[in-house]
Symmetry: C2
Subunit: 344 residues, 2 copies
């Protein structure tokens, strides 16, 4: 009977007809506007319930100028770090009635700015994780993305909070831990060449080297995933280092796996550390010593910062800096007598 109007889905007009009132009144009732007669309101609600009317969010968004949706741009959804950020963000946002639209750039940083722009236009705000984007490009697009929260990047633009993890401090803490265990030859299995967080680590290790002239720190090329770590076994062994700082937990796990295949004992022969403290880190064998980052909390904070921006509240604490906590587990131990350079 009084089913659908033209479009197929039932809309505010159908309810209005059924209740014998105008669109406007239905809208008022649905939005809890109390300037409407209780009897009429009841009639409208009854009609709405009977027709199972649900307001069309697109029409609503257009009229209200907001979507109740935020976007997040990540370089790789397969990376546990971004998964955790997404999770924290999504949960926190959901609590305030916001949804999350995801945009995975699949590591093609050239796409990132377009993706970010598109996502932003569909949403009320954006969280941007773009570790590989150049500074120039970042500065270029940032103004058009507001309200925006950056993860592990900073910008000169105003009103753009940055949530950054102090990878520099973290990596120095780990290096210090290894040195304390008697290691005098460390190796850093670096991350992706142009990653911002990798740069932070490299710089910090330079500082560390300067402060510890007695310890040797070899830099090795790497990446950010499992396979990188696995493939780096030869290079690591060739370096002769006994304490290895992997770029992150994934790389460390790959490396450990490779070392096991070579029959080496961790930490007996060689100590391995990761970074991030992804959920699996405590279940590896041996459990991984790492720099723990409260990454889910970071996603949550990202939402709080973004929410403040969206609501145009005075953002009392713009941005935030997270100190990694050294999490000592079983993958690090006292150094053996320094090995000479081993081959194969």
């Amino acid at each position: 009977m009084a089913r659908k109007s033209a479009s197929g889905r039932i809309g505010i007009a159908d309810v209005a007809v059924k209740a014998g009132v105008s669109h406007a009144t239905v809208s008022r009732v649905m939005n809890g506007n109390f300037t409407v007669d209780p009897d009429i309101a009841a009639r409208v609600r009854a009609a709405a319930a009977e027709l199972k009317y649900q307001p069309n969010p697109v029409g609503r968004s257009l009229a209200l100028g907001k979507t109740d949706t935020i976007g997040i741009v990540v370089p790789d959804l397969a990376n546990p770090t971004f998964q955790a950020i997404l999770r924290g963000l999504s949960r926190a946002a959901a609590q305030d009635g916001y949804r999350v639209l995801i945009a995975d750039s699949f590591e093609v940083s050239s796409e990132e700015s377009i993706l970010a722009g598109e996502a932003r236009r569909r949403c009320d705000g954006l969280v941007l994780c773009a570790p590989r984007m150049t500074d120039a490009e970042l500065e270029e697009i940032v103004p058009s993305l507001h309200p925006l929260v950056l993860i592990n990047r900073t910008t000169a633009a105003p009103d753009v909070p940055s949530l950054v993890v102090d990878y520099g401090q973290g990596v120095q803490d780990i290096a210090g831990h290894l040195v304390q265990l008697g290691h005098t030859h460390l190796a850093f299995l670096a991350g992706p060449p142009h990653s911002a967080s990798n740069d932070m680590r490299l710089k910090a290790l330079e500082t560390f080297k300067a402060a510890h002239p007695d310890v040797d720190v070899t830099m090795l090329e790497g990446g950010s995933d499992f396979d990188t770590g696995h493939e780096a076994v030869d290079a690591v062994l060739a370096s002769g280092a006994t304490g290895i700082l992997a770029f992150n937990d994934l790389v460390a796990m790959g490396l450990m796996s490779g070392l096991h295949e070579r029959g080496l004992d961790i930490p007996g022969d060689i100590s391995v550390t990761g970074f991030d403290d992804i959920p699996f880190a405590k279940y590896t064998t041996p459990a991984l010593t790492t720099g723990a980052v409260p990454i889910t909390e970071l996603g949550e904070q990202a939402w709080h910062q973004l929410r403040a921006l969206i609501r145009k509240e005075g953002n009392e604490t713009p941005g935030g800096r997270y100190q990694p906590r050294l999490e000592v587990r079983a993958s690090t131990g006292p150094a053996k007598a320094p090995r000479s350079t081993v081959h194969g």
Copy 2:
């Protein structure tokens, strides 16, 4: 100057004014409608470029009746299985210019149907993962969710493709593998009580028991995460079983971790298997024998099915059934002489 109209953002009207044409013409140009004079088109494009005009997707969506967005409802974003589905879905959808909106129900199945409805209304289609929802509830909401693709659930409603993994077959394959290794006492560390995929496994194990009267299969209560497995150590040991089928890889990893803490050797003392073949499964120590599910591919397929529905194409292959592949790794081995029931 000719910056913004009222709203703050620049819109189609601003471009129209700048190019000295009507809104309609700008729209035509932006949509590649060729019925417009090349000179004018060029002028419009120039104006658009100069103003950095980008069409407002909300207005567009309202006019076109589509959002170029799909939704996915998952019970737990922390679960690698759903992360993988999301990843596959997101990547496949992105290739066709669609974005993904996520709705995490955080295991509160009472919220799932509301969440699903909300998500659906904002999107052109929905992928629903709701393992715990009752059949009745599912049947109730399914009609209002079309276009819809179900993961690991089926429905009587028409035009609702289901992508289901044959957990039953998978679990029987694993059990068979263990029996072949000489295990005569197996234990199944079950998943969440009302999960659809858990029911499939339980039923299959009954079948298996009937076909193998000589092997003992103990059922143990469990869950779906790491901690569940870890906490189940005592129960597993008490059962006396030598071949353990964990609900999934996460549970298996937790269990292995617990067994290691007890000083037990895997697979020397006890064989452990998982399910899913999450990325980490091959890097555990020992590497985990599991039922491999091409889970990312499943996400991808979900998109293809959904796309067919959205485009109203005749869906040649509605739904699909995935056979897990037995992936034998190092966590399973020959049975020791049957242990008598051990305590603590």
